[in-house]
């Protein structure tokens, strides 16, 4: 299957659309994928906002992930189920799109995105405007065929330093080739910010599991991530130095700072709250 609109595209259909203001959409999580992480669910919401904003400016620009004030993780999404996506656009022009949104399954909220901002970049640098326009029309009409997504292989991570339950430094090796690069984006391959965040959250959870004292049977899980800020693109083949620092548990929450650097330059930051 060609990767475009398959390997990292998470909107099958736009079911309700108020130009520049609001949209609802759906994505059927294929039953054959082993998991569909909360970060991918957040990506789906962001992609719906991207369609609304690109349509508003007639596909002159496309938003890229930059700022997410708060993302709340409520529960996991299950393969084989259909995500109901909704976005409300606060503001949208040739400079940026500001939006909030959520994803749910059968009325149960999976993820909330609150006050996100994506700067617009020239669409021609990333994809063919006419291809995007045609895809948007398809999504608004019959919808795309479901179950195109084949899952995503998490990138290799090598731990460099590890203080149990406290901190971790690791190197994420972005692959030189991966199916998602053909979708994100066809003309300019960029490692998805949501995959970076997914990797960081998994590592932070590993740290949290080592950190006493979680009450009996409590399983640390991500509650929310705030202050997400992507400072620059991460390209195929780059090595990203990850640093995670976990603060002691307080009031049932463990806070972790997530930092990513390339050649000493900070490329992404976020703050994670882990609950038991």
């Amino acid at each position: 299957m060609a990767p475009h609109f398959a390997a990292y595209s998470f909107v099958d259909r736009i079911t309700d659309f108020v130009p520049a203001k609001h949209a609802r959409g759906q994505f059927a999580i294929p039953p054959h994928v082993p998991e569909f992480s909360s970060c991918l669910v957040a990506e789906a919401v962001g992609q719906l906002a991207a369609w609304v904003s690109m349509a508003h400016i007639n596909f002159r620009g496309r938003p890229v992930a930059a700022l997410a004030t708060e993302t709340r993780f409520h529960t996991d999404a299950t393969p084989g189920r259909t995500l109901d996506l909704v976005v409300d656009i606060d503001d949208c022009d040739d400079e940026a799109v500001a939006y909030s949104g959520s994803a749910s399954i059968d009325g149960k909220t999976i993820v909330d995105l609150i006050h996100c901002l994506g700067p617009m970049l020239p669409v021609e640098d990333f994809d063919a405007p006419e291809t995007l326009r045609a895809r948007f029309e398809l999504l608004r009409a019959a919808g795309a065929s479901a179950h195109r997504f084949q899952g995503v292989a998490m990138p290799a991570v090598m731990t460099r330093e590890h203080a149990r339950g406290q901190s971790l430094q690791a190197t994420l090796a972005v692959p030189s080739e991966a199916p998602y690069f053909g979708d994100h984006f066809p003309r300019r391959a960029v490692f998805p910010a949501t995959l970076l965040l997914d990797t960081q959250i998994r590592l932070a959870l590993d740290l949290a599991r080592e950190a006493p004292p979680w009450k009996d049977r409590q399983v640390p899980h991500p509650a929310r991530v705030t202050h997400v800020k992507m400072r620059s693109f991460i390209l195929p083949g780059q090595n990203v130095d990850l640093a995670i620092d976990l603060a002691p548990l307080a009031n049932g929450i463990a806070k972790a700072s997530l930092n990513a650097r390339i050649d000493e330059r900070v490329v992404a930051t976020a703050r994670l709250e882990i609950a038991g």
């Binding site: 930059a66 700022l67 004030t69 022009d93 400079e95 940026a96 500001a98 006050h115 901002l117 700067p119 202050h227 800020k229 992507m230 400072r231 930051t269």
Partner: protein
């Protein structure tokens, strides 16, 4: 035009909330947000931080600040061709810039000054003034 004189009382009225908002965006202590510190040279702010600060200030003050247009605002009514030539701020442009950024000491304006270097001049006071201007525009009759 929104380039009217803004007095110190107006600036100090918004400064605490501006400082708190900027500190949150930059991940630093609120005490680091001195009125006259250079955001880029003093607090390591990058372009994404400017976007973040504007985004947060809009919500904190319930105002609208045109994103990515701070330099355009600084130009005021001066046509672009008179404000800069080949990326360098003209003499006329520099006078306009000094008037708009009246909080910045003369010594910080380089000659020649690249347009790309204008954000290096910005301080928390610059953002306080942006907020005050946006508040005034919101109150102004349509």
């Amino acid at each position: 035009m929104a380039n009217d004189v803004i007095n110190k009382d107006e600036i100090m009225a918004v400064y605490p909330k501006v400082a708190e908002t900027m500190a949150d965006a930059l991940g630093c202590d609120v005490e680091d947000i001195k009125l006259d510190v250079s955001l880029i040279d003093g607090l390591d702010a990058e372009s994404i931080d400017f976007l973040d600060m504007v985004f947060r200030l809009e919500r904190a003050f319930k105002i609208k600040i045109p994103r990515g247009k701070i330099v355009e605002n600084a130009r005021g009514d001066l046509p672009e061709a008179e404000f800069e030539q080949k990326g360098i701020v003209t003499e006329k442009g520099l006078a306009q810039l000094k008037s708009y950024l009246s909080e910045i000491p003369d010594s910080r304006f380089k000659t020649p000054m690249k347009v790309a270097d204008i954000p290096r001049l910005f301080t928390p006071e610059t953002f306080c003034k942006l907020v005050v201007r946006a508040q005034r525009e919101a109150k102004a009759p349509a």
